[in-house]
């Protein structure tokens, strides 16, 4: 590997890290299982390392990497025989376009900082529920069983918690509207 190629590879990986949240979000929107999403993120990182020369740095990075992500995510879904509840191709086309919109290029640092502050304001039961969902990766059914409630109730509480967090993030960033 020559020095120039190595530099180009590092630049592509730096872009990957910068846009990682959006890449993860797209993989999650397709696969919806975090363990699969982790695998796909790794695959995408490996593809970028191997094929970084395919990327034209004069073009936007997000559409290119999202196309790679979609390919890897669909391959993962096929490998796990999970194609029956996937979105259709034209829905994925539209989803990819939304994910790659120009404002998506903006860095997420401010939003992430605001979210971390807002998470600190969530009470114990709420933070426990969020942790079970996002860190422990329990299904709604498992959470319901642990908390002695119904799956529907878990969905409702999670929706309310997310809405409160989105409001909090937007307030901190000084504007209204949905968090994106």
């Amino acid at each position: 590997m020559d020095a120039e190629s190595s530099r180009a590879g590092e630049e592509v990986m730096a872009l990957f890290v910068q846009h990682r949240t959006r890449i993860e979000a797209y993989a999650y929107a397709i696969l919806r299982r975090y363990q699969d999403v982790d695998d796909v993120l790794q695959e995408v990182a490996m593809v970028l390392m191997r094929k970084h020369r395919d990327y034209d740095p004069t073009t936007p990075f997000l559409p290119w990497v999202l196309a790679v992500t979609r390919r890897e995510a669909l391959a993962q879904a096929r490998a796990r025989r999970r194609t029956n509840t996937l979105l259709d191709d034209h829905h994925l086309d539209r989803l990819e376009a939304v994910m790659a919109e120009a404002d998506a290029e903006a860095p997420h640092d401010g939003r992430m900082t605001a979210l971390m502050t807002c998470l600190g304001q969530v009470g114990r039961p709420g933070s426990d529920l969020l942790r079970m969902k996002y860190v422990d990766r329990y299904s709604a059914e498992d959470i319901a069983a642990r908390m002695g409630t119904t799956r529907q109730a878990v969905y409702s509480v999670l929706q309310r918690l997310r809405a409160r967090l989105e409001d909090c993030v937007n307030r901190r960033l000084g504007h209204t509207g949905a968090a994106s």
Partner: protein, 429 residues
Amino acid sequence: VSDADAELLERYLGDDLDEQAATRLRLRLEESPDLLRRLAERALFDAMLRTGLVANAAARVRPASGTVRRRSRARHRRGNRPRIGALVAAALVFGLLGLSLVWRDGPADRLPSVLTAAGDVEVPSGPARPGMRLAAGSSVRTGTGSSVVLGYDDGSRLALGARTSLVVPATGRAPIHLEAGVLQGDVARRTPERRLVISTSSAVITVLGTRLRLAAEAGRTVLGVEHGTVGMRRLADGHEVVVPAGFRVDSTDLRLRPLVAEDTLIEAEALTDASPADHEVESGRSVRIYRERLPGASGTGCLAIPGVGTELALPVPLRSGPCRLWVRYRDEDLRATELPTFAIVVDGRVVQEVRVAGRSRAWLWVECPLDLRPGMQVALRSLHAGVLDHDDPVFAHRSVNRIDALRFSFDDWTPGVSDDAAEAAPSPR
């Protein structure tokens, strides 16, 4: 977005959608363009939420030494007066707490056992032996050229390299402390209550279930994540970073850098001397071989190098410092006329060319001193057409250049009679 649509999205993202509901969602996505935008927003917010929560989970971990200090201060305040009532109450509390730990910790958090030990591996009671379960609070130390694999009841394994020192926690909840050296882990997926936490002098690493590599020296920790997600918090300033699969991070700057591309690795275990076919790579193709899972260990088998320019990239250990790269090489070209045969390349620069004149069909150890830093790209580049199929019906033969073993040695290891023992060194998988 209506409540019904919101529920559909919730169930879709919760992977809780049957085929009928999936069809309904597809229809609604057709009818309502806002719903698709909302799906994108939700997925993005979930990804951020997950990142934030994993970082928070990592930040909650505190090193064992802090706990000890707080206890000491509390004891100092109380003084040494014996108080029977307090002692009885404490005994009851600790008894209940002990029961609670036994109940909550489960098999995954029991103390590890020694699975394999090679060379000089010491525990407080003497040399480590396979099958021995380690006592709470005990330490394990490996000597030069030695290694040990520890196993937990849930299948998690920790492999320690040479000159490594690790302290097993006194309770199931305290971190394992890596004092110095190299650790490679293959940790079964765990709930947060049972997560594996590893502390070093400079960082705390929280593992939920993953394959990772960890190297520690005074004031510095390097973590590489092969699978899963790991949180690392730097003790000096509390800064933390979530390390995704495929990346590594150094506690000195907390920057994420890519790991070696695992999918191009050829597993050492897959290469066996017994296989006459060897493992060949396409001419000119760059491959990475994964002989060196730990300093002090090497794999077995042969890798045939077929063509000029074929480059074998080595995964560099996370440890830094002066070391020697050892390559066991054999040129089976009966004619041995094309020299030199290969070069050792560091960060794209040839640091040593290796010629094997006069040594055809004999295994040859080649030594190359390196000042190794994590992240260095080290490769062997073939300068010789390794496999030649000659069409001549009388003199038809096949000649092959083979790489048999590669190792980075930080120790006093030299090739020789100990090769067989070295090649039998354990792998965490």
